[in-house]
Amino acid sequence: MSPLLQGMVTILIGVGGCVGYFYAANLLLDRVIFPPSGRDPGRNISRANAVRPWLFLAPAMAALGLYLVYPVVGSFWRSLYNRDGGSFIGLGNYTDLAADPAFRTALFNNLLWVLVVPAASTFLGLIAAQLTDRIRWGNIAKSMIFMPMAISFVGASLIWKFVYANEADIGLINAIRAGLGFQDPIDVIQIPFWNTFFLMAILIWIQTGFAMVILSAALRGIPDETIEAAILDGANPFQIFFRVMVPQITGTIVVVWTTITILVLKVFDIVYTMTGGNFGTQILPSYMMSYMFKDDGRATAVAFVIMLIVLPVMVWNILQARKEMR
């Protein structure tokens, strides 16, 4: 079967299945289980209506249970076992993690990522949104800034490998250095501590576009009159931006910030592609990857740690997003 046909059939089966499910389930409920007849039809109708929401929720709950709850519980369970899953070792994997200096490096680096990347992306996105909103070629600038969003993390890393390449003929950084008269090229990826920040630059480069697009929409939603009132009140452009405009979109800023934070805690591709976790650039997801298929017990333990860290950010993110929608 051609892939196109395959896709069509899948869509047909999926949509048809959904329609069929709801139709049949409702029919069953209304005709067979609680028919509006018998001794007390009114009561049957209200009972059917009480059950109906669950009918609609059931497929989603089943899917979430199968693909979300089960893996979480399963992973946790697996993390209590040893390397080959043969023997139960309790929290052994977790205590091993705590004792592993590599894990602590990863944790520390991840902390840096979480502090720097969302802050930098959001800030740069905010500035870009404001600056591009008022100029004629703003939309072109916006598209350019947004473009990296369309590139996969691995693709972006490859591009930046060229930027950071250890050769003046290839690497942008070293080309600039050579232009300034420095003789020997440097490998920026190997500079201890700072190399982590060079890796972060890649994700910031990607995420600034996202922040800019969302924040630009939010900035446009600010009523012009409040800005005009601030002009009449004598505020200068900086005061207008930081004291009148930004406070009006704090909700959106928080949503953008936390969304990027969650992403940061999951991205392993950049580190994996750029350094493979070497030169002290390890972060939790790449640390996890380095154990996957070698010691699944420990890998799942790391996964669980990551989940515990993401969870509160996520809850906050959802709460804020809901508040924004109201």
Partner: protein, 364 residues
């Protein structure tokens, strides 16, 4: 000295001219109301005075100083927007204090000014609330308070009451009138499309139409001596009736023979012998129409619709041409039996207006 003068002021957006050749002198302490149909440029003119729109022609002076290129905050004006434009993230207190904080005033000074304004506007209990926790009327008072705190030379209001419901509109209108009375030295410019607001608040009304000023004057002058058909129909509700005719007698009192039949009607508008035979339109306000049994009348028609409002009864006469505005009469008291009757209407000569070519013959 004039508090504010506009000479030859105009505004174009690219090739589109919105306002042109506006000359106006506003004295210190006046409350001038700009009225005009929607889209005639009232807001644009106000925003040019505020400095939110660039003046593309002419000069604007405040207190004798040309301010065309002076930034808004230094013009000594404060503006109250239709949508209130409160800063949603700031408490009422901070909303009012913002301008003074920006200006770098001392805390004591700011507190004193905010407290004074809040007391005057009965906003003291709400000082620590956010705007979203206030009713529409309270928000509008905060917007006014934000203006008062700055103690400007000129207050600008852009349809400040149009977002309020009818009852609140009346109450706030009276508050603004009282505010003006309490601040006799401040100049206020008030934009509205509501003629009741214009008539009740204004010391002078500026009617804007056709990119310019149609007439300026005290409210009753505009009502009694409109310069043009446009002003005559714009001020007063329902609008003035206009009837075709030709001048048949001139002098202190002018006689007009009506085109639609009937006799002649007299008007106190004086005319010269040369005017004899001139085509004119006779303007009679609905409230000036009175029924007559005589042979000389301005209009004869069958009452098609009758609106009994208790205090007055409005009669809509049948039209020959369905496109034309109906002739309307507004009689005091209750006249329930008049529907379907054919009436002859006339008016006191002192209340009959004459227009030729759209211009009033009184203002030649």
């Amino acid at each position: 000295m004039a508090g504010l003068t506009l000479s030859g002021v105009g505004k174009s957006y690219g090739a589109v001219e919105v306002l042109k050749g506006i000359d106006l002198e506003i004295e210190t302490g006046e409350l001038v109301v700009f009225v005009g149909p929607s889209g005639c440029g009232k807001s644009t003119l106000l925003r040019m005075i505020a400095g939110l729109e660039r003046i593309t022609a002419g000069t604007l002076t405040i207190d004798g100083v040309r301010v065309n290129d002076v930034p808004p905050a230094q013009r000594g004006i404060a503006m109250v927007f239709q949508s209130y434009a409160l800063y949603p993230h700031m408490s009422v207190r901070d909303n009012m204090a913002f301008a003074l904080k920006i200006a770098g005033r001392s805390r004591d000074e700011i507190d004193a000014a905010v407290t004074r304004a809040a007391r005057r506007l009965q906003l003291e209990p709400y000082l620590d609330r956010l705007p979203k926790a206030l009713s529409g009327g309270q928000r509008q008072r905060v917007a006014i308070g934000r203006a008062i705190v700055r103690d400007p030379k000129v207050y600008l209001f852009d349809e400040p009451l149009s977002n309020l419901d009818a009852a609140l509109r009346v109450a706030t209108r009276i508050e603004i009138a009282q505010l003006k009375e309490a601040m006799p030295d401040s100049t206020m410019i008030y934009v509205t499309h509501d003629q009741v607001e214009a008539m009740t608040l204004a010391s002078r009304i500026v009617v804007l139409a056709d990119k310019g000023v149609a007439q300026v004057g005290p409210p009753l002058e505009l009502y009694e001596k409109p310069r043009s058909e446009f002003v005559a129909q714009f001020i007063g509700s329902p609008a003035m009736n206009l009837l075709e005719g030709a001048i048949s007698g001139t002098g202190e009192t002018t006689e007009v023979r009506l085109a639609a039949g009937g006799g002649t009607i007299a008007s106190k508008v004086p005319t010269e012998p040369g005017d004899k035979g001139r085509k004119v339109r006779v303007g009679i306000r609905p409230e000036d129409m009175e029924a007559t049994d005589g042979e000389d009348y301005a209009f004869e028609g069958r009452v098609e619709i009758l609106e009994a409002l208790g205090e007055v009864t409005q009669l809509y006469f049948e039209r020959a041409d369905p496109e034309a505005d109906p002739v309307i009469a507004k009689l005091a008291g209750v006249h329930a039996g008049l529907r379907g009757k054919t009436l002859r209407m006339t008016a006191d000569p002192g209340r009959v207006h004459l227009f030729a070519g759209g211009r009033s013959l009184l203002w030649r």
